[in-house]
């Protein structure tokens, strides 16, 4: 067990590699109830706080978006679903209080449901574990009964695999988890969640993105609506447009290392003798049997194939910029 965002969380059950492989080859169950589920009624008001198209989000659809500050930095990254008549957003555990305070300060009415449970079933066999969700496609959302329990189900996740995130009343969470385990899902902890998301090239708030990170530098351009940027009508829009116009000074890239030694967060990235960046996340990738990292480098070095050194225990480990994701996504569209 480890402390994470104020919660006692399992780092692993049987072992990170076994849990990781269970997710890549079968179905893994993650308890992510620490994440904050909130309800928002006013899509137009919420849209003012994010760079994505929210009013155009159709009922039954979900989108990845960002809460930005005036400087264009990322307050949080989140999923928002139109489950009609209201929106449901899922906030990072360590940011949920900050997010809600920000939204309320901006005049947005938010109903928090932090006591709700959230379970993620991820992997190629996820649909066998959650047949109730079979009709959903990637990024669909629906209110459904799962194992007889009323839930809000989205076909999405944080592993790069097909899968579902399933929210239900907190009191029903244990029964839902037992039902999903009985259907063959393998329990997986934070360790595997981290190695899976890193292989999938997905950012972790607090490591890879934060209040001083521009979404442009973080390669999150897909979350920036051209229409919204042109309208310049959301918090942080002017700053984001300025970064887009000037180009970011640094860019988030994937890095594959030679050898087997991983480079961890805060390792220096050097080109010959010059400091050109810093690792923000790193692990040994079980699916690749090789170490991988995410980090920021000078923007002119962001091209895949660029050779770099990562400094680990005062020694340079050679690596090169790799295209993301490291492991292909397997979403069911």
């Amino acid at each position: 067990m480890v402390e994470f965002a104020g919660y006692e969380m399992p780092l692993q059950y049987q072992g990170i590699i076994a849990e990781h492989q269970a997710c890549r080859t079968a179905a893994a169950l993650f308890d992510v109830s620490h994440m904050g589920q909130v309800e928002i009624a006013d899509a137009a008001a919420f849209e003012h706080l994010v760079p994505g198209d929210i009013q155009g989000l159709k009922p039954g659809r979900q989108r990845y978006t960002l809460l930005l500050n005036e400087a264009g930095g990322i307050i949080d990254d989140l999923m928002v679903a139109n489950i009609g008549p209201h929106l449901q957003a899922v906030l990072n555990a360590g940011r949920k209080d900050v997010d809600v305070a920000h939204m309320r300060a901006q005049g947005l009415a938010v109903v928090t449901h932090f006591d709700r449970a959230l379970l993620a079933v991820q992997g190629p066999k996820a649909v066998e574990v959650v047949p109730e969700g079979a009709k959903l496609k990637f990024m669909d959302a629906a209110a459904l009964d799962v194992a007889g329990i009323p839930c809000i189900v989205t076909r999405s996740g944080y592993t790069g695999e097909d899968g579902f995130e399933i929210g239900c009343a907190g009191a029903a969470g244990e029964a839902l988890a037992e039902a999903l385990l009985a259907r063959g899902a393998v329990p997986a902890g934070l360790g595997a969640r981290d190695s899976l998301r890193l292989e999938a090239g997905l950012c972790l708030y607090g490591n890879d993105i934060g209040e001083n990170t521009s979404p442009v530098a973080a390669q999150l351009g897909f979350a920036l609506s051209k229409k919204r940027l042109a309208a310049d009508d959301f918090v942080g829009a002017a700053a984001v447009n300025a970064v887009l116009a000037a180009g970011p000074a640094r860019m988030l890239v994937g890095i594959r290392l030679d050898g087997r030694a991983p480079a961890r967060a805060h390792a220096e990235i050097r080109l010959r003798d010059g400091l050109v960046g810093e690792v923000t996340s790193g692990c040994f990738a079980p699916s690749l049997n090789a170490p991988i990292a995410l980090g920021y480098v000078r923007a002119d070095l962001a091209k895949p194939g660029t050779a770099l050194d990562l400094i680990v225990r005062d020694k340079p480990l050679p690596g090169e910029v790799a295209a993301l994701p490291f492991v292909p996504h397997h979403y069911v569209r």
Binding site: L11, I16, G191, R260, P262, C283, F284, R313
Partner: protein
């Protein structure tokens, strides 16, 4: 069967017939570390002091130091765990040994724990 000595840093030591002290990490330690994916061992010939960090094990998630349980000179290292780090998980107190030390002072082992004392030490950690 040679006697095995244990440290509070979860290393074990066996004094061999070759006059060298074979060092590894305990089964408790490998279990706490999880799947080991990389091992870095000291250069043979290096002098190490008791408690000095002299090897590194990396799991998927984190790096951990391994300390010299006794002072001496590194005489030999186990290339087997460099080539196959999972051997440390599979046989921590056997084929997954780390290195052999030529001890500076053989009497220093008397300051280490025997199995019963180490088991009692482990029971205090829960």
């Amino acid at each position: 069967m040679s006697q095995v000595f244990y440290s509070k840093d979860h290393e074990w030591v066996v004094l061999g017939d070759d006059g060298l002290a074979k060092v590894g990490i305990t089964d408790h330690a490998q279990n706490a570390l999880g799947d080991i994916v990389f091992v870095e061992l000291p250069e043979p010939g290096r002098n190490v002091a008791t408690g000095e960090a002299c090897a590194v094990v990396e799991s998927v998630k984190a790096a951990s130091d391994v300390y010299a349980p006794l002072s001496g000179t590194v005489a030999e290292v186990n290339q087997g765990i460099v080539d196959e780090p999972a051997l440390v998980n599979g046989a921590a107190e056997g084929d997954g040994w780390f290195f052999k030390l030529r001890l500076a002072d053989a009497a220093e082992v008397n300051g280490m724990m025997d199995r019963a004392a180490y088991d009692e030490f482990l029971s205090t950690l829960a």
